[in-house]
Symmetry: none
Subunit: 315 residues, 2 copies
């Protein structure tokens, strides 16, 4: 019983791919059981499994399947290539197939992330995200990796009414990755920036990205969750007295300018109010509200707030 003879189905399930894909990999790339008589069932040895795991890991990191297979065949235990798989000018075609997530030309990492997500492989997802954040930082990772994948996922999900579980899993992984960033970077000083979703707004990931970026920049913040009613927001502002408030609205339906007005009119009025997110309409914003265009801009604006506070606090 020590000689495990794993069947195709078992292996496929373990890798999170379809049985047919296993067969395809075998006949297209030669990536199959070391001993296999045509017509007979395939029996995967542990060594074969390792090879397949390598294949999985490489594709999860954005390597084109054909290349990954070539690699896996001759160097089963190979680690990942260089620090950042910068693919530029390479002619290696890499398309997607089957039920995938469209990521466009967002780089190999996005493709790998999409692939790992389709397999519900949270470990691979975490690995990709962590690596990206470690090498490129939060802002770049958000703009070039996470947002494209999440957008593609949402689009596909809206169209197909499927992949909901994939979307949730990825969201959770992203959220966790950002949380890890916040935890890793020690928060110095009291949080003077409050991040909050608009009322009824349930997408909090962009705010979490901003939070992680702030933490990365050494700026402490406070992040309320999704669906924050106006009353709760005002209460939080009143009790914590933040210098700046960022209010996120993903869709137009949650972008009620009244919330912003209430913020500006309430007691302990924050120095600065940001209306972030694509939901807000520029022409309907009350005066005194800043509308950052993207994550980087929001980050720099927030940093400016922090700096100005430091100066004023010097007295």
């Amino acid at each position: 019983m020590a000689d495990e003879a794993l069947s195709a189905g078992v292996v496929a399930r373990r890798l999170g791919i379809a049985v047919t894909t296993l067969r395809t990999w075998h006949q297209r790339y030669g990536l199959g059981p070391s001993e296999h008589v045509p017509g007979r069932h395939r029996r995967y040895t542990p060594a074969d499994l390792i090879r397949l795991e390598t294949m999985r890991r490489l594709t999860a990191n954005g390597v084109a399947p054909a290349e990954a297979a070539r690699w896996a065949v001759q160097a089963p235990d190979a680690a990942l290539p260089g620090p950042a798989p910068r693919t530029e000018g390479r002619g290696a075609r890499d398309g997607g197939g089957g039920a995938t997530i469209p990521v466009g030309r967002s780089g190999p990492a996005a493709r790998g992330l999409a692939r790992a997500a389709m397999r519900l492989d949270s470990n691979a997802i975490n690995e990709v995200i962590d690596r990206a954040i470690r090498t490129g930082g939060v802002v770049v990772t958000w703009d070039t990796l996470l947002r494209p994948v999440l957008a593609g996922l949402g689009e596909r999900h809206a169209a197909t009414a499927a992949l909901i579980e994939v979307e949730h899993l990825v969201s959770r992984c992203v959220s966790e990755a950002f949380a890890a960033v916040v935890r890793a970077h020690a928060p110095n000083g009291p949080p003077r920036i409050l991040l909050s979703c608009a009322d009824e707004e349930q997408h909090s990931l962009p705010l979490e990205a901003l939070g992680a970026a702030l933490a990365e920049a050494g700026i402490a913040h406070r992040l309320l969750g999704a669906r924050v009613p106006v009353r709760a927001l005002l209460g939080a502002v009143h009790r914590t007295g933040p210098a700046a408030v960022v209010l996120w609205s993903q869709t137009r339906s949650t972008a009620d300018p009244t919330q912003l007005t209430a913020l500006l009119a309430g007691p302990r009025r924050p120095l600065l109010v940001f209306a972030a997110g694509p939901g807000w309409r520029a022409d309907s914003l009350p005066a005194g509200v800043v509308r950052p265009a993207n994550l980087a801009e929001a980050l720099s604006l927030a940093a400016a707030v922090r700096d100005s506070l430091d100066q004023s606090a010097a007295g």
Copy 2:
């Protein structure tokens, strides 16, 4: 002491299978009398009988014989999908009830956590939670610290329609803490346990607690998020073929037994299906569903699943 040595024929008749099948099970799966000299007659002890009964029950429920045998050999007395799930001692717990559970006498840590939550001080919240998990483990922390606080918070929030932001913040912190636990403990082996919320169910924190506890015990798992439609759940099961599925339902309205039935009837039927959470009603569960009473029980059951199936080579 009444160590009845049952003969093969008697055992076969009692189990309702052929004598030859008994012999086959012995030589094919090693599922036979603990002591047996080749050529001599087999004598089955009560312990052996229990093992065989397990085997029969599992196969009767559609589990593949080879896997069932593996389970029966090393986890003979584990709780199993029985025809009449009469395991129920009345609601000794249930977090979604109506009992008044303010933080009350849940220990000083709970009080401190509640205070930090009121201040929206995520750093302090994290600190308290992390310390608790580090000293007492996930299960204890959940039962004695987090659940009381969350329950009290939810109750007050339901009554006052306020403190929503506090609840969200605490939830996020708890979620992050669990995620950190999962990340810290390296996942060994492929995840064979799938955790998922029932359709429409939006409380995923208890499942995350289970996931963290599993990770703490070195058991890999896969956690889908909240609000998983039945179709998505079935798709995930089909694609990943988990050994066990835990379906969480917090309130009665989300506890549709149809979901469980679909799980058991679908292709790639999981070996074990758990109906977890206070939403489920014991008398409405389909046969073959296990209903763990609390986090600790769910953990031990899941651990049993892992043990019975884990003999794979480490990657």
